[in-house]
Structures are given as structure tokens and as C-alpha cells.
């Protein structure tokens, strides 16, 4: 079985950058939610977006953390108001 980042270096690096307050996060490229599930507890809300419907289906196959909403969309079709997020996370997606 493939094990990814058991050392937690990715979430440690992300956590070190995030402001210490409840956050409204927009994550672009959430995939199957591997990273989202690791930081969601620190967020007030997460809009987790991915263009891959299969990945979103995989993400939603297990219960979502509180405050997490999923959307299947490419970034160029994602219609959000300006200044909607405390953090916009481009997760392996740029």
C-alpha cells in the first residue's frame, strides 16, 4: 500500500503559514481530500474544489469533516465573490 507523507511534513509546512484564527478556506485541487482532512479542524469553513468528479466522489465516500463543502469545477468556472476567503489554497494545482 502506498503511504504518503507519514512524517506530516506537508501539513506542518501549511500549518506554519496559516493565520491563527478561524478561517474560511477555498482549496483548489482538493483531490480525494488527503490534505483537506488534515487541516479542516482549524478552519471555520472549507470550500474544497476539484475538476475531477472521480476524485470528489472518492472524497465524499467517507464522512466529511464539519464545515467542508465539496464542489466539482475547474477554477475558471468557479464563481465566487471577490474577497470571500481568508485563505485560498492552491493545492498541487497551479
Amino acid at each position: 500500500m502506498i503511504v504518503q507523507d507519514p512524517e506530516g511534513r506537508e501539513i506542518d509546512a501549511l500549518a506554519a503559514l496559516l493565520p491563527l484564527r478561524p478561517l474560511d478556506v477555498v482549496e483548489i485541487g482538493c483531490g480525494d481530500g488527503r490534505l483537506t482532512r488534515r487541516y479542516a479542524a482549524r478552519a471555520r469553513s472549507v470550500l474544497a474544489v476539484d475538476p475531477d468528479a472521480g476524485a470528489i466522489a472518492e472524497f465524499s465516500a467517507t464522512p466529511l469533516p464539519p464545515g467542508v463543502v465539496l464542489r466539482t469545477s475547474p477554477i475558471d468556472r468557479l464563481d465566487l465573490p471577490d474577497r470571500a476567503a481568508d485563505v485560498v489554497l492552491l493545492a498541487w494545482s497551479l
Binding site: 502506498i2 504518503q4 509546512a13 483548489i28 489554497l89 497551479l94
Partner: protein
Amino acid sequence: MVDALTRACRWVRDDGCLVDLRPADVVAHVQIGLPDGTCMDAGGVDVEDERRSRHTSADLALHTVLARGAFVVESERTFEFCRYADSPDEMRDYIASKWRQTLIGAATHARAVDLLRRHPHGRVQLVERVGIRKLCRSSS
């Protein structure tokens, strides 16, 4: 890609930030890690030109947006992101099925098999250098 990044920047609140997390190097390396911490390199993955081009385009998009002056890099660093497999075959098949335009080539796979044969307590790992940077709105 510049358009996508520009859209993402628009969604950031005045006191918020944009976090750009992605590979810093286009080539990840297959290694055999030993219990004492030693890592032996079997070689890099084979990356198609299109993926290399996309990697370059992402850097250019970032530079373009920063040059406009609305955002500045507040902090950035790199770290090693590691994936572990039970065998070279498993790692090869994982990359083939999950990654786009990237393969573990026959020569790298063969070196990994050979290294693992000589070091049976080793562990197959794919090591990728990842960059993370925090962009904030410029105060000027």
C-alpha cells in the same frame, strides 16, 4: 494559468493570504531508504515535455502576478514529500495510474530492484521536493 492565478487572488480577503503548494522540482526521485537513515538513489522519474512545460508555466504565472504588485511573497520554503511503497512494482504502478505524463522508467525500476535485492531491509520511496509560499496583498 495567469488567469487562474489572478482569479484566485481576487478571492483573498484584505487580511488573508494565498498559499501556493506544488512541486519545486519537476523530477521526483525513486530511492531505497535504509533503517539507519541512508537513502540510495535509483534515479528520477521520466517526465514528458508537456508536464515540464506546465511546471515552467506555473512559475511564470506566479512571477507575472507578483510583477503586477498587488501581492507579495510573505514567506516560502521547501520540504521533502515522501511516498512509500511495498515494492518497486507497486511504486511504478502507482505512478502510472495516478500521475499524468510521468513514469518510472525501466532503468530506474531495475536499479531500485537491484538496490532492494542488495539491501533487503530497505524501503522503496519516492521523494519529491515541494515548495510552499504564502502570498499576501501588498500594503502599498
